[in-house]
């Protein structure tokens, strides 16, 4: 059953993601966060729209550009920011960092640092979820469709009729390279060739995403097999922290900024869903204030002690190896 939730929560979630990423960026520039980061700014409507259709038993596999997926799915901003800083209180105790976040309590089976890894993980999770009426969702970018993971797993999921939704966030660039320079044919045609139910959607309108998400979950949950969604979107920042985005076509970024998912959502909230501008402003200000508190607390959080190097293997818990 498809019902749209015309509420402020979707907007607030997107503001949370945008503000989180801006905070990460500023902490990076101050040298508080090390290594690299891949920000989700501009693509917030995709993760937010799909997450709004999740059931408690469903599972999410995301990418190394995964902060947005994590927050949308329910990972707390505090535990995620602590992880960015490598703190003991991080969602993975500081072991995973930005690119490999896992939070099973909040249905996030992982963010995958290898392009296409999310596709394999969700396909496998769907084998287990088929037993309990659950659906797995894999997020990945346009670059991932040229990985073996994509073709192999779409085929695997289709022949096994697995309940999995493959969400390709086409942000026009695979890292620094325009997708059309390195991709033969059209993206959706790949899935259609395997007779996987497919659709291309506006990935910057959170309600358009939510509508497609509700229909996709419904289809997959009923045992019809996988769904492929191409969500058209755009990242407002470079691929990673070291990328100034010089490959963008003239005027392209400005044109997409007019279609900022936050601007679109704000307009629809006021024009169609009856919120006042003041209510929307207040919601945004509230999220930003909470993020500032998160930031302050994260910077005070403890780092892991060397005893947290831990061990290589999980100890055996079950009786094993004996007779029948």
């Amino acid at each position: 059953m498809v019902t749209l939730k015309a509420n402020l929560e979707l907007f607030e979630k997107m503001v949370l993601i945008r503000t989180f990423e801006e905070t990460v960026q500023s902490l990076f520039q101050k040298g508080e966060i090390v290594g690299t980061t891949h920000l989700y700014s501009g693509q917030e409507a995709v993760a937010t729209g799909f997450a709004s259709a999740l059931q408690p038993q469903d599972l999410v596999a995301a990418t190394y550009r995964g902060h947005g997926h994590a927050l949308a799915t329910g990972v707390t901003p505090q535990s995620l920011m602590d992880e960015m800083l490598g703190r003991l209180t991080g969602v993975c105790g500081g072991r995973s960092g930005s690119m490999n976040v896992i939070d099973l309590e909040h249905r996030l089976i992982g963010c995958f640092g290898i392009i296409g890894g999310s596709i394999g993980a969700a396909t496998g999770a769907a084998i287990a979820l088929a037993r309990k009426n659950g659906v797995a969702i894999a997020y990945f970018g346009d670059g991932a469709i040229n990985q073996a993971y994509f073709y192999e797993c779409l085929n695997f999921a289709a022949v096994r009729k697995l309940p999995v939704i493959f969400v390709c966030e086409n942000n026009l660039y695979g890292e620094y390279t325009p997708w059309e320079d390195v991709t033969a044919g059209q993206i959706r045609a790949r899935a259609e060739a395997l007779e996987v139910k497919s659709e291309t959607i506006d990935g910057n309108d959170v309600w358009a995403v939510q509508k497609a998400a509700l229909a996709s979950f419904d289809y997959a949950r009923k045992g019809n097999g996988p769904v492929f969604i191409e969500a058209l979107t755009y990242r407002f920042v470079g691929h990673s922290r070291s990328d100034p985005g010089k490959y963008r076509k003239p005027g392209e970024l400005d044109a997409w900024k007019l279609r900022d998912p936050l601007i679109i959502a704000r307009k629809r909230l006021v024009d169609e869903f009856g919120f006042s501008t003041q209510e929307v402003d207040a919601a945004e200000a509230g999220v930003k204030k909470r993020m500032e508190e998160v930031r302050e607390q994260s910077l005070k959080a403890p780092s892991p002690g060397l005893e947290r190097l831990g061990s290589e293997f999980m100890e055996l818990k079950r009786a094993g190896g004996g007779g029948a």
Partner: protein, 327 residues
Amino acid sequence: MSPSQDELSFRNAIREAIDEELAADSDVIFFGEDVAEAGGVFAATPGLRDKYGDERVFDTPISELALSSAAFGSAVAGLRPIVEIMFADFLFLAMDSLVNQSAKYWYLSNEQKSIPLVVRSAVGGGIGFGPIHSQVPISWFLGVPGLKIIAPSTANDAKRLLKAAIRDENPVLFFEHKALYATTEVREELTGQEILGKARIVREGSDITLVSCMKGVADCLEAARLLNEIGISAEVLDLRSLRPMDNEMIQSSFSKTKSLLVVEEGPITGGWAGEVISIANEVKIDGMKLWRIATPDRPIPFSPALENEFYPSAITIFESVRERHAR
């Protein structure tokens, strides 16, 4: 001719272990290429699909990356998958899901969830399968924290170890040497709890320790018999687990014999034999002898004229020990 009731073939040991674990736990599933309808190209798994149904035992596309990552994902989501990668040479197509995902998941998730996953795979040469269906890629995986590597040498031990691997909470690579499938031995009653990571002494001796795994153990036992005839008492240590390795047993045997030869089927450079020697070498003994025999640093040649001379054998082991001990 099928073995009698009180005999167990290596091939049937594999099937029985999977069968018993499928029966014991509904979360256990088994899939791979040609494993269900056909029962496996090495005929190790016939009848399991009929017994447990297509939801739990099924054939997959020829997609090693997809099937291994599907195993990983299903383990994340609560199942205990066993997959077959038909030939270990195909494992390289599955490396990302095994090395980057499965092996690291428990650790980098901060111990939220382990990956109880078993990858069965056939290894080894000597039967004319050529350079890309005969390799023993243990050393490729030896340096991967979080992975266990099991390599049994006999039918009873294969059953014991495979059942333990399925019940283990960590990802396990379980290697089956092709030359062993048809071997049989008297069936042993399996009792007690097997913990992965333990070696065993399969023959006691006092003058030298011969260390190997899989088919190499039988070669070492035969060499030990020949050495006994010329007055050299050889102890034979079956590693069983390559990761983790049983450092304690390697060192205690070496402390006793003061001489140790490792026999590896695999290229000598970067092989696991070097790791065994390093472990033994931590025990400082005057006049100690430590060396290895492995295969040449070449792709495995097809021609029987070349392949038959390629691997360590009971004779090469015997002659190497005799030569060293004569010095």
